[in-house]
């Protein structure tokens, strides 16, 4: 959710309470989409953000509507944090009229350009190269905005990641790279396929200021993001934020996680960001009841979104032929009365 007031200090309880609400909204969205996936209302695959909510939330709280973010395959949380409407998102996941991408993209292509969310992506690392280009466009157009790109730990082994780091530094672009290190790349433990000290050391090798944070601590993420984003916005060039977290769920919702040591999930779940944030809020003067009702409100909002999505109709098949390109028709089916 964007926050127009950049000067507001981080870690004020009222602010953290807002972040808490956003995290609950993401969690509720992810839990409900899993249910609806299992019930057959969502097709394809969904990559859930459960347990990682503090990162997108803490980062995007420091961005404006006019700033851009580029996401990856795990894009629901980033979208909600950037201010996309969960109801339109749920319609997208269910392939209904009113979906953020007109039901053309589904979960892996969730996007809301009206709030600067330039898209999830089904191809790893492509958001990085596109992100540096978006930042170049910002400079060329002379607008006051920055770009944030989210990238998973596993993806830091793809070549375009390095090209983008170098490129961003060479042109001193207004961009923040956020690496969400959840320990896994699909079914593989990322460390097992990653040499050296990891993403921070790699970013530093390009001369990029790089910082590490506990990604399950929304206060810490918010504070570091506020600092780095202020630097980027102030002309300080690219920065790198490395957030340590844990992928509580499977890689995709169907994933049985047979590769994961027994008990690991449960052990690591103790550290999940929403519970930690709730505890911090209580320690900082909030009532348990306020917190519970905020969480309930989030679930209620998502339940309403699910209901609205189920009520929405499926798009007319002829819409398939729209938005391909200006030049050259898609040559639709003649024989069964496809679109003109």
């Amino acid at each position: 959710m964007s926050n127009e007031n950049d000067t507001q200090r981080t870690n004020e309880p009222a602010r953290i309470f807002e972040l808490y609400k956003t995290m609950c909204l993401i969690r509720a969205f992810e839990e409900r989409s899993e249910d609806e996936f299992d019930a057959g209302f969502i097709n394809g695959s969904i990559h859930q953000y459960i347990g990682e909510e503090a990162i997108g939330t803490g980062v995007c709280a420091n961005l404006r509507d006019t700033d851009y973010i580029l996401s990856n395959h795990r894009g629901h949380g980033h979208s909600i944090a950037k201010g996309a409407d969960p109801e339109s998102m749920m319609k997208e996941l269910m392939g209904r009229v009113g979906g953020t991408s007109g039901a053309k993209g589904g979960s892996m292509h969730i996007a809301d350009f009206s709030v600067g969310m330039l898209g999830a992506n089904g191809v790893l690392a492509d958001g990085l190269t596109m992100g540096v280009g978006a930042a170049q466009a910002i400079c060329l157009r002379g607008v006051d905005a920055i770009v944030t790109v989210f990238v998973g730990d596993g993806t830091t082994n793809r070549g375009p990641f390095y090209e983008a780091l170098n490129w961003a530094m060479v042109y001193e672009l207004p961009i923040l790279f956020v690496c969400e290190n959840n320990g896994y790349a699909s079914s593989t433990v990322t460390r097992s396929i990653t040499a050296g000290e990891g993403p921070v050391a790699r970013a530093k090798a390009f001369g990029m200021p790089a910082f590490d944070v506990d990604g399950n601590d929304v206060n810490a993420v918010d504070a570091l993001a506020a600092d780095l984003i202020a630097r980027v916005r102030g002309g300080g060039g690219p920065h790198f934020l490395h957030a340590r977290t844990y992928r509580v769920k499977g890689h995709i919702s169907r994933d049985k996680m047979l590769y994961r040591p027994e008990g690991e999930t449960e052990e690591r779940f103790k550290d999940e960001p929403i519970g930690r944030c709730a505890a911090w809020l209580i320690a900082n003067g909030f009532e348990e009841a306020e917190i519970v009702s905020a969480r309930d409100a989030a679930y209620a909002q998502i339940d309403a979104a699910v209901a609205a999505a189920k009520d929405a109709s499926f798009p007319n098949k002829n819409l398939a032929y729209a938005d391909v390109q200006d030049f050259g028709p898609p040559e639709p089916w003649q024989q069964d009365g496809g679109a003109a």
Binding site: G95, R96, K104, W333
Partner: protein, 327 residues
């Protein structure tokens, strides 16, 4: 014969080749930690028998998965590189086309590049634009490459074996929707030769040429048309380069009518090559001009009603076949 799924049959085939030849190995993302629902399923358990030097879990580095396979092939081994989907295969087109396909030639025969690259094709429900593409036409157009697209568990296993044993680089394109499809698989070695099509329905009125999952739909089409008294030769090409011209020409000479059906986007697809080639070589045998059918030239949309507009369905093939038969 044993009934098994495509995924199981191909895994069996790979295991048999790994046992037969110690120079065969496989590399790709998540190969040794496999979980359900992806091509990685086809590697479950292999790590236990063959160890991490031969079932190699790689970093997410498509350029290097492909490039390393090329280097390892040149250096005397027979890698099977899995790029998971033709869509991700686009991240490694350079290594495949500029290196694997050309090394033997541009070095004047000093080296061979005996590798297999697996890249799955096809629409799987809800997979949308970036996980649904069928790019076989690109690789047929690329000198130096062999392209296979098996459409049954037996062919999946048998062609994987031939691909591994071939000294050419082979692009092995399996259809995601077939992974869980079952079929009879021979109990013997069951090698399926490269370049040999299979006539899966015999008929005399019309030849339908297809491959991969589409060949299965064309069998349905033939069965439906049989109800109308139309008898159809359905040829499952199995290998796209070199495709079995003898089989196709012979069938067209018999039926005088050709329909080529593909799942890929019609414009610029492989069906155009077959239609053109057959027209050039069997013109006198044709009772009417060859037809083809393929998808509209658009990305694959997500929501089902739109996704169905992309699909080349049996109904659409039948409509086209009837048009052809009426001509």
């Amino acid at each position: 014969m044993t009934e098994m799924t495509f995924a199981d049959a191909v895994r069996e085939g790979l295991a048999e080749e790994l046992r037969r030849d110690p120079l065969v190995w496989a590399l790709g993302e998540d190969l040794s930690t496999a979980h359900g629902g992806t091509s990685a399923n086809q590697y479950v358990g292999l790590i236990d028998e063959f160890g991490p030097k031969r079932i190699v879990n790689t970093p997410i580095s498509e350029n290097t998965i492909m490039g390393a396979a090329v280097g390892a092939a040149v250096a005397g081994t027979r890698p099977v590189a899995d790029l998971r989907m033709a869509d991700f295969g686009m991240c490694a087109v350079d290594e495949l086309v500029n290196q694997a396909a050309k090394i033997r030639y541009m070095f004047g025969g000093q080296a061979r590049v005996p590798l297999v690259v697996r890249q799955a094709i096809g629409v799987r429900k809800g997979a949308a634009a970036q996980h649904s593409q069928s790019t076989e036409a690109w690789y047929v157009h690329t000198p130096g490459l062999v392209v296979v697209a098996p459409g049954t568990p037996a062919d999946g296993r048998g062609l994987l074996k031939s691909a591994i044993r071939a000294d050419d680089p082979v692009v092995y394109m399996e259809h995601k929707d077939l992974w869980l499809a079952s079929g009879d698989v021979p109990d013997d070695e069951g090698v399926v030769p490269i370049g040999v099509a299979k006539t899966v329905r015999e008929g005399s009125d019309l030849t339908i040429v297809s491959w991969s999952k589409m060949a299965r739909l064309c069998e349905e089409v033939a069965d439906t048309l049989a109800g109308d008294g139309v008898s159809v030769d359905v040829i499952d090409l199995r290998t796209l380069w070199p495709w079995d011209k003898d089989a196709v020409y012979a069938s067209v000479c018999k039926t005088g009518r050709l329909l080529v059906a593909q799942e890929a986007v019609q414009v610029g697809g492989f069906a155009a090559e077959i239609a053109t080639d057959v027209t050039e070589n069997c013109f006198d045998a044709l009772k009417t001009h060859a037809r083809r059918i393929g998808a509209p030239r658009m990305p694959v949309p997500y929501a089902e009603p739109m996704e169905n507009e992309f699909r080349v369905t049996p109904e659409r093939i039948i409509a086209r076949a009837r048009e052809l038969l009426a001509a």
